[in-house]
C-alpha cells in the first residue's frame, strides 16, 4: 500500500484501491468477484452487459467502469442485485439462440456458467426472440454464428487493440445491433485463427468457433465443469 492508496468497502469487506482504479479492478485484486460478461482481462472496459451492476453509495453503477473512491460503500451480493443480474442473464439467453446441449462452447461458455452461478435453474417467463441470422462459415479456419452473440464487443476490442486489425465491428441499432465483420464475410477479412480475438478465449459464448478443434476437450473436463465462474478470482482471498 502506497500513501496514495485508499480503502473502500464491498459488502462490508475493506478493499484497498489505487487512484484511477475501477471498483471491479480493485475487487479483483482483493479476491472479490463481481459477475461480468462484457469485461475481459486485458481489454478496455465497455460497461455494456450491466451484469456487474453494483450499488455504490446507494446508486446503481457498472463496477467495471465506475472509479473506486475513498470510503465508498459498495453493495454487490445482495439478493436484490443478484436478482437483477440474473434477470439480465435471462434477457441475453432469450435474445439469442443459446441451446447449450448442441453448442460447442458448452462448459467453456461464460453465459452458461454465469447462469449457473446466479441460480438460473428453472424456465423463465420471457419469450424467445429466436434470431435466424445466417452462419458465416466462409473462413477456412473460423466459423461465426451471431445467433449466439451477446453483443459484448470483446472480439471488437481484441481485434482493434491487441491484434491491431479491426476485423469486427458493430452494425445496426437497438435490438438489431450486431457484430459484423470488415468485409462481405469472414473469408474476406484478414482474420487469422492465431488472432487473440479468435483464439485468445475472448468470445465468451459459442459465437466465434475455431474449426476442427471442436470437442477436443470433452464435456465434463471443461473450464466451468471444474469450477464455478469467478472462483479463480475468489481463490486469491482464501
Amino acid at each position: 500500500m502506497t500513501d496514495k492508496d485508499f480503502t473502500f468497502t464491498i459488502d462490508g469487506a475493506s478493499v484497498t484501491a489505487q487512484p484511477g482504479q475501477t471498483i471491479m479492478e480493485a475487487a479483483d485484486a482483493a479476491g472479490i468477484y463481481i459477475p461480468r460478461l462484457c469485461d475481459h482481462e486485458g481489454l478496455r472496459h465497455q460497461g455494456s452487459c450491466r451484469v456487474c451492476t453494483v450499488k455504490a453509495a446507494g446508486r446503481s453503477v457498472a463496477a467495471c467502469t465506475q472509479p473506486a473512491a475513498p470510503g465508498l460503500v459498495v453493495e454487490s451480493e445482495t439478493p436484490h442485485i443478484q436478482a437483477m443480474r440474473k434477470s439480465l442473464v435471462e434477457m441475453l439467453f432469450h435474445e439469442g439462440n443459446h441451446i447449450c446441449p448442441v453448442c460447442e462452447a458448452s462448459g467453456n461458455c461464460e453465459l452458461q456458467a454465469m447462469a449457473y452461478r446466479l441460480g438460473m435453474v428453472e424456465p423463465t417467463k420471457l419469450p424467445y426472440l429466436e434470431p435466424t441470422r445466417p452462419v458465416d462459415a466462409s473462413h477456412p479456419g473460423i466459423a461465426l454464428d451471431t445467433n449466439r452473440c451477446i453483443s459484448c464487443g470483446r472480439c471488437i476490442r481484441a481485434s482493434e487493440d491487441v491484434d491491431h486489425k479491426g476485423v469486427f465491428g458493430y452494425c445496426g441499432r437497438g435490438i438489431h445491433r450486431r457484430i459484423t465483420v470488415n468485409g462481405e464475410d469472414l473469408a474476406h477479412t484478414d482474420a487469422a485463427v492465431s488472432d487473440h480475438a479468435i483464439s485468445g478465449g475472448v468470445c465468451p459464448v459459442g459465437c466465434i468457433i475455431v474449426k476442427r478443434v471442436g470437442f477436443r476437450l470433452p464435456i465434463g473436463a471443461r473450464a466451468f465443469d471444474r469450477q464455478i465462474i469467478g472462483e479463480a478470482i475468489e481463490e486469491k482471498r482464501r
Binding site: G47, S48, R50, L88, P127, S151, R173, I175, R177
Partner: protein, 616 residues
C-alpha cells in the same frame, strides 16, 4: 458491362472524396460526409464506404457501423425522393391511417418500399416535431403538414411524376428567403407569448451586457437567476458552466442541443424559427462565460428544413461582428458556431450520445464519469445546453437575475415553453411561468374533455383527471415541456404500446437492459392487450421495469418503462379490466395450437392428441 460498373463505382468514389475533402478529411466529421453522400447518391453505396475508409484511415466496418446507426442513412438504395410519414400516436389519432392509405394507393407501394422506377421511397418515422399540425411528413429536405388523404395523394402523384419537390411548398420557392421558406412549410402556432422568450425581445441586449462582464460574473448571474436546463433533466445551468470553466484545458466547447426528439415536443422548433438570434446570442454568452472558441448547433435530422435558415442567420451574425474574431470589438472574445445535422436518432438528445455523434461516431452515450463538462467533445470540457435554456440565459444577462428569479416557484424560476398537442382546440406553444397547474394549461388550450395527459412525453408520466391540479415545475411535475392530451375515447394500452415501440426503435442497443428488456416489456404489454394477462403479470411488469431502470446506462433506459409504471399507478383500472385469473395453474398466454404449429409443419401431419378433427 464491367466497364460501366467500374465507371459508376468511380463516380461514387468521387462523390465520397468530395464529401471528405469538404471537411478537410477530418474523420470526426464522418456524419457530415455520410449525409452528403446520402443526399447525392440517395444511399451509402459500398464504393463510397471503401473510398471514405481509405481516405480517412478507418475500416469499412467502422463506417458501415456509423451509417447503420442512423435512420436517415441507408446502406440500401433508396428512391430519389423519400417520403417519411410521421407515425407518432398523435398523427395516428389525427388520421394517419387514411393518409397512409392514400399514399400507398397512389404510389402502389407499402411503407418500407421503393417504386420500381426508383422515383419514390415510402417510410414511416417517429415524431418529427410537428404534433401541433399532424399528420405531417418529411419529404427529403422539406416537410408537409396538416395532411389530409387528398393533399397527401396530390403530393404523392406530384412526386411520382418527377415534378420539382419544392413546388409542393410554393411555386415561388426559389424566390423566397430561407425564413419565408420555413414559414411557408410550418406554422409556429405561438398561443401564449410570455415575458422572457416569445414576447418582445430586443436584439443583442444580453450579449452587449455580457461583453462588458468578467466570465465569472456571467456565471454568477446565471446561478443567481435559478435557471435550470429546459430539456427535461433540469440541471442547474450556472453550475454546469462553472464546472466547465474550472477545468484545466486548452480548448472548451459550447454545444446547443437542438435534437428535440421527445415525442410531443416542438418548442425548440419554434425558437429556432422565431428566435434564432436569441439562441446564438445565448451560445455566445455561454462561450464567453466558460472561455470557449468553438460552438456546435446539433440540429436533429428531422429539422433539416431549418438548415438554410439557420445558416443564413449565422452568416448574418458573422458579417455583423457577432461571431468570429473580437466579437463586439472585444479583443480575445473569439467564437464561432458550426451546424451539425443529425440523421434520425432520438438517443442523440442524450448529451454523451450527442457528443459521440458530433465526433463522427455511432450515437451512443459515453461512459460517465468523466462528464462532458470535464471531458466532452474530443476530450475537451464541453457545455451542452438545450435551445430554450440558452435563450433564457441571453435574456437573464439583459434584464438581470433578480427579474428572472422572481418568476415561477420556489424550485423552478422563470418561464417555460410548453408544447401542447393532441385532443385540444389550440395545439401549439405556450410560454407560462413555472407553477401553473395542468388544469389551467388545459383550459388555455381548449382541452375540456381531456381524460389523460402525458406530461414530458413518453419518458415523463401519464396522469389522469384526479391529478390535473398538480403544478408544472421541478417542485411537482418536472417536464421538458411536452403536454400530450388524450380524451376519453383513446385506448391507454395502445398509447403505452406505441411509446414502448418507440423506445425499442430508438434504443442504441449498447446495454443489455435497454436493448433487450424493452423488447420484452413491450411483449408483456401485448399480453394485456390480447387479454392473456393475469394478476401475476402486473408484478412481472413492475419487476422488469425496475431492472431496466436500475441497470440501464443512460437516460433512455432509465425512463423507458415510465409509460408502463405511470399508467399502472394512475390508471390501474385499465389493467384490471383486461386481467383475468390464471386457470388451472396454466399461463393464459399459452396456446397449445400455436405452440405445435411448427412441429405440425415439419411432420406434415396433424396431432393425434391436440387436433380434435384428426380423422379428417
Amino acid at each position: 458491362m464491367n466497364g460501366q460498373a467500374d465507371h459508376q463505382a468511380d463516380a461514387i468514389a468521387a462523390v465520397a472524396e468530395e464529401a471528405a475533402a469538404a471537411t478537410g478529411h477530418d474523420r470526426h466529421r464522418l456524419l457530415d460526409m455520410l449525409l452528403a453522400i446520402q443526399e447525392r447518391c440517395r444511399w451509402i453505396p459500398p464504393a463510397a464506404v471503401e473510398r471514405l475508409a481509405a481516405s480517412l484511415g478507418l475500416t469499412p466496418v467502422f463506417i458501415r457501423g456509423v451509417a447503420s446507426f442512423y435512420s436517415f442513412l441507408s446502406l440500401e438504395p433508396k428512391g430519389k425522393v423519400i417520403i417519411r410519414l410521421c407515425d407518432d400516436i398523435i398523427d395516428r389519432h389525427a388520421g394517419l391511417d387514411a393518409v397512409l392509405a392514400a399514399v400507398t394507393d397512389e404510389l402502389g407501394i407499402s411503407a418500407g418500399e421503393t417504386t420500381a422506377d426508383g422515383a419514390v421511397s415510402l417510410e414511416v418515422t417517429p415524431c418529427i416535431g410537428l404534433c401541433d399540425q399532424a399528420p405531417a411528413a418529411m419529404v427529403n429536405d422539406i416537410v408537409l403538414t396538416s395532411l389530409t388523404p387528398e393533399t397527401a395523394r396530390h403530393a404523392a402523384r406530384h412526386l411520382k411524376a418527377g415534378k420539382p419537390l419544392h413546388d409542393l411548398v410554393s411555386p415561388h420557392f426559389a424566390g423566397l428567403t430561407p425564413q419565408q421558406r420555413v414559414h411557408a412549410q410550418v406554422a409556429s402556432n405561438i398561443r401564449a407569448p410570455g415575458a422572457v422568450l416569445l414576447g418582445e425581445v430586443p436584439r443583442e441586449a444580453g450579449l452587449r451586457r455580457a461583453a462588458t462582464m468578467e466570465p465569472r460574473a456571467i456565471i454568477a448571474a446565471i446561478i443567481a437567476s435559478g435557471l435550470r436546463g429546459c430539456g427535461g433533466a433540469g440541471f442547474a445551468t450556472g453550475r454546469k458552466w462553472e464546472m466547465a470553466a474550472r477545468e484545466e484545458a486548452s480548448r472548451r466547447v459550447v454545444i446547443c442541443n437542438a435534437d428535440e426528439g421527445e415525442p410531443g415536443t416542438f418548442k425548440d422548433r419554434v425558437l429556432l424559427t422565431e428566435r434564432p438570434h436569441l439562441l446564438f446570442e445565448g451560445m455566445t454568452i455561454a462561450a464567453r462565460a466558460i472561455g470557449a472558441a468553438e460552438g456546435i448547433l446539433y440540429l436533429r435530422g428531422e429539422y433539416v428544413y431549418l438548415r438554410d435558415h439557420l445558416e443564413a442567420v449565422l452568416a448574418e451574425r458573422r458579417a455583423a461582428g457577432l461571431l468570429g474574431h473580437a466579437i463586439l470589438g472585444c479583443g480575445g472574445f473569439d467564437f464561432d458556431i458550426r451546424l451539425q445535422l443529425g440523421a434520425g436518432a432520438y438517443v442523440c438528445g442524450e448529451e454523451g450520445a450527442l457528443i459521440s455523434s458530433c465526433e463522427g461516431l455511432r450515437g451512443e452515450p459515453k461512459t460517465r464519469p468523466p462528464f462532458p463538462v470535464q471531458r466532452g467533445y474530443l476530450g475537451f470540457p464541453t457545455v451542452v445546453n438545450n435551445v430554450e435554456t440558452l435563450c433564457h440565459a441571453a435574456r437573464i444577462l439583459d434584464l438581470g437575475p433578480d427579474w428572472y428569479f422572481a418568476m415561477g416557484t420556489a424550485g423552478s424560476h422563470g418561464t417555460k415553453l410548453f408544447s401542447v398537442s393532441g385532443d385540444c382546440r389550440a395545439p401549439g406553444v405556450y410560454e407560462l411561468p413555472y407553477g401553473i397547474t395542468v388544469g389551467e394549461l388545459l383550459a388555455l388550450a381548449g382541452a375540456e374533455d381531456a381524460a389523460a395527459v402525458q406530461v414530458g412525453g413518453p419518458s415523463g408520466v401519464m396522469i389522469g383527471r384526479d391529478s390535473f391540479h398538480r403544478r408544472l415545475g421541478f417542485d411537482d411535475l418536472a417536464t421538458g415541456g411536452a403536454i400530450i392530451v388524450f380524451n376519453g375515447s383513446r385506448n391507454i394500452l395502445e398509447i403505452v404500446d406505441y411509446y414502448l415501440a418507440f423506445f425499442v426503435h430508438e434504443s442504441c442497443g449498447y446495454c443489455t437492459p435497454c436493448r433487450v428488456g424493452n423488447v420484452f416489456l413491450r411483449q408483456a404489454i401485448a399480453k394485456f392487450r390480447h387479454g392473456h394477462a393475469s394478476a401475476e403479470d402486473v408484478e412481472e411488469l413492475r419487476t422488469l421495469s425496475a431492472t431496466i431502470i436500475e441497470t440501464s446506462r443512460c437516460g433512455l433506459g432509465t425512463t423507458s418503462p415510465n409509460p408502463v409504471l405511470s399508467t399502472l399507478s394512475h390508471f390501474p383500472l385499465v389493467y384490471a379490466a383486461v386481467t383475468r385469473p390464471a386457470q388451472d395453474g396454466q399461463q393464459a398466454s399459452f396456446d397449445i395450437q400455436s405452440a405445435i404449429e411448427t412441429a405440425r409443419g415439419i411432420a406434415r401431419r396433424r396431432s393425434f392428441v391436440y387436433d380434435r378433427d384428426f380423422s379428417q
